[in-house]
């Protein structure tokens, strides 16, 4: 029983995509081979992850590009001009960058105090609250949006700015609460107590000790919420159309109605803020700020 399980696991790990053999990291026997396998594996990973993005970027500058050429036959910037000449597209860029910071700010105001309370105080039913947030995440968005539409009609939120903010906000609550809660919880109480002992007040302790130490987790949550708003299309389409057509909503029609160049140009535009934000928080995300938030304690 155990051996079968072990064998399956072994054979699985022996032949991962990219074919890194098991002796890869063993100092004795085939260290060089392991090196080679590692390099091959990394190359496969690079192609799998970056290939599609780079390919799309090439399309953004392609005038004529027919299969099976590896590069466009003729380069061109004409699609960039067309996209910028199309007022509807420019407007959607503006809208997206209006909604994203607003949603991020509202989400922070709603969730961050709660995150602090959940991390630091004996809130009754604390774990239930965290799990309820999770359960809400498990319901498929489209099902939610259909009934929310009824609710929004009743509350006169359909087609309004606030309605769009609200629908985008719903997708940010879970990580805006969980990740900062874990960040606050990981600040050692002893440090806060020490600051209190030397005479700092509650507010001062929070601002000079707790907040700076929890900042990476909060920053990660803020960036993720900004990106979630920038990425949300389904709910925005349902609530915001025709007045609030954001970039991702526009992207759907571009994909189906225009040649790949137009969508590619738009995709590159839409990715720029993401890349900038990624560089900003990469270190913290890799450092475990995100992962910590998902282990409810």
């Amino acid at each position: 029983m155990t051996t079968t399980a072990e064998r399956t696991a072994t054979s699985r790990l022996e032949a991962p995509p990219g074919g890194r053999p098991r002796q890869a990291r063993r100092p004795t026997g085939g260290y060089g081979l392991g090196r080679v396998a590692l390099v091959v594996g990394v190359c496969v990973l690079v192609i799998f992850i970056f290939g599609p993005i780079l390919w799309l970027m090439l399309w953004a500058f392609a005038g004529i590009w027919h299969y099976p050429a590896l590069l466009p036959q003729r380069w061109s910037l004409s699609w960039w001009r067309q996209v910028f000449d199309y007022p509807q597209l420019v407007r959607s860029v503006g809208l997206s960058f209006t909604f994203a910071p607003v949603v991020m700010a509202v989400s922070a105001v709603v969730c961050l105090p709660a995150a602090y309370a959940l991390a630091r105080f004996p809130v009754p039913g604390r774990r239930t609250m965290l799990v309820v947030l999770f359960a809400a995440n498990a319901f498929p968005k489209i099902g939610l949006y259909i009934t929310i539409a009824g609710l929004f009609y009743a509350l006169h939120l359909m087609g309004t700015f606030f309605g769009v903010v609200l629908i985008q906000l719903l997708g940010t609550i879970v990580f805006m609460t969980w990740i900062p809660a874990a960040a606050f919880a990981s600040v050692p109480r002893a440090l806060e107590d020490a600051a209190r002992d030397v005479g700092a007040g509650r507010v001062r302790v929070f601002l000079t000790v707790t907040l700076p130490l929890a900042a990476p987790g909060i920053l990660v949550a803020l960036v993720l919420s900004f990106l979630a708003s920038l990425d949300e299309a389904q709910g925005t389409f349902l609530v915001g159309v025709p007045r609030y057509v954001t970039m991702p909503v526009q992207m759907y029609s571009l994909v189906s109605d225009y040649p790949p160049q137009a969508a590619a140009v738009f995709a590159v535009l839409l990715s720029i803020p993401s890349v900038v934000l990624m560089l900003l928080v990469r270190r913290h995300v890799l450092g475990g700020s995100l992962a910590k938030g998902f282990e409810i304690r």
Binding site: R22, L38, A138, P140, A233, A264
Partner: protein
């Protein structure tokens, strides 16, 4: 009295996100449940007044008519099977890749580890609609993979755009960062000494990984599995852009049923089916959370 007041204050401070979720997610779910069971009035009046082809409970307490109708449709059953299949395959591949990457990152030096995880985390920051479209272009007929395959003489290489295989690829691409982050941060927390002790006792790297790292890293693995599974089950953008129209996945199918066929009740039945599957996927997570919390509470 004072203690009760304080507890109330804590509860109040912690409640805004939960209140928001209760009002705009909890209530809609409850409304959805009664709608699918045939109650068309009350909160459902606005939606049902313009909907086509509804099943009403009439004077009865409830009816499963809408569910029966949806399940009687052979296309729906095929789509359900496809959804489960794609989810299972994607989750399996994501876990395998994430463990491989995390394990290499753990066993290599700091620099290699940084490069590996940095790479794997990139899709987290790319909007899903763009990632999906990019993957579609990359793997389709006329895309990079076909071009390369053609150049080396593999003209039989499949074009994966608009196939379920393509959906699996795209779902893996989208889900990989979260799984890698969860599993690698769990692995980094395992001290070197534990690993070296196992190696000293004669275990190979893989034996050590299987018998020590996996049990120690079970919770992050379960979290990665559940969240990946749930997000794939309900996903819309990836299968809508990359997938075939038949079989469709349940996310786009429910959207289409609502937006194109104007049958919100049937769309909600499909949403309930997705929700049911998501709960099944979430059970190990809830169990593990409960267990780990109980363990920390008693120790």
């Amino acid at each position: 009295m004072k203690a009760a007041l304080r507890r109330g204050g804590y509860l109040l401070a912690a409640s805004p996100p939960v209140a928001l979720v209760a009002l705009f997610i909890g209530v809609p779910i409850a409304v959805t449940v009664i709608y699918t069971l045939g109650h068309l009035g009350g909160p459902n009046a606005a939606v049902s007044s313009i909907a086509l082809h509804q099943v009403s409970a009439g004077d009865r307490l409830l009816t499963f008519g809408a569910y029966r109708e949806v399940f009687d449709e052979p296309n729906f059953r095929a789509d359900l099977v496809a959804t489960v299949w794609v989810t299972a395959a994607s989750v399996g591949i994501v876990l395998l890749l994430a463990w491989t990457i995390a394990l290499f990152a753990r066993l290599s030096g700091r620099r290699v580890a940084g490069i590996l995880t940095s790479l794997a985390v990139v899709p987290l920051f790319i909007p899903v609609v763009i990632g999906s479209y990019a993957i579609l272009q990359f793997w389709s007929y006329g895309g990079f993979m076909k071009t390369i395959a053609h150049a080396v003489g593999l003209s039989g290489f499949p074009a994966l755009g608009f196939t379920l295989g393509g959906v699996v690829l795209a779902e893996v691409w989208v889900s990989l960062p979260f799984a890698v982050l969860m599993i690698s941060s769990g692995l980094q927390a395992v001290p070197d000494s534990v690993f070296e002790a196992a190696r000293d006792a004669g275990a190979s790297t893989l034996q050590a990984a299987w018998s020590i790292l996996l049990p120690m890293n079970l919770l992050p693995t379960i979290i990665a599995t559940c969240f990946t599974g749930i997000s794939i089950l309900g996903s819309f953008t990836v299968p809508y852009l990359v997938g075939p129209t038949s079989p469709n996945l349940l996310g786009p199918l429910a959207t289409e049923t609502f937006q194109s066929f104007n049958q919100p009740q049937q769309a909600e039945v499909m949403s309930m089916v997705i929700f049911g599957l998501a709960i099944v996927v979430a059970l190990p997570y809830l169990w593990a959370t409960y267990r780990s919390n109980r363990d920390t509470a008693t120790s």
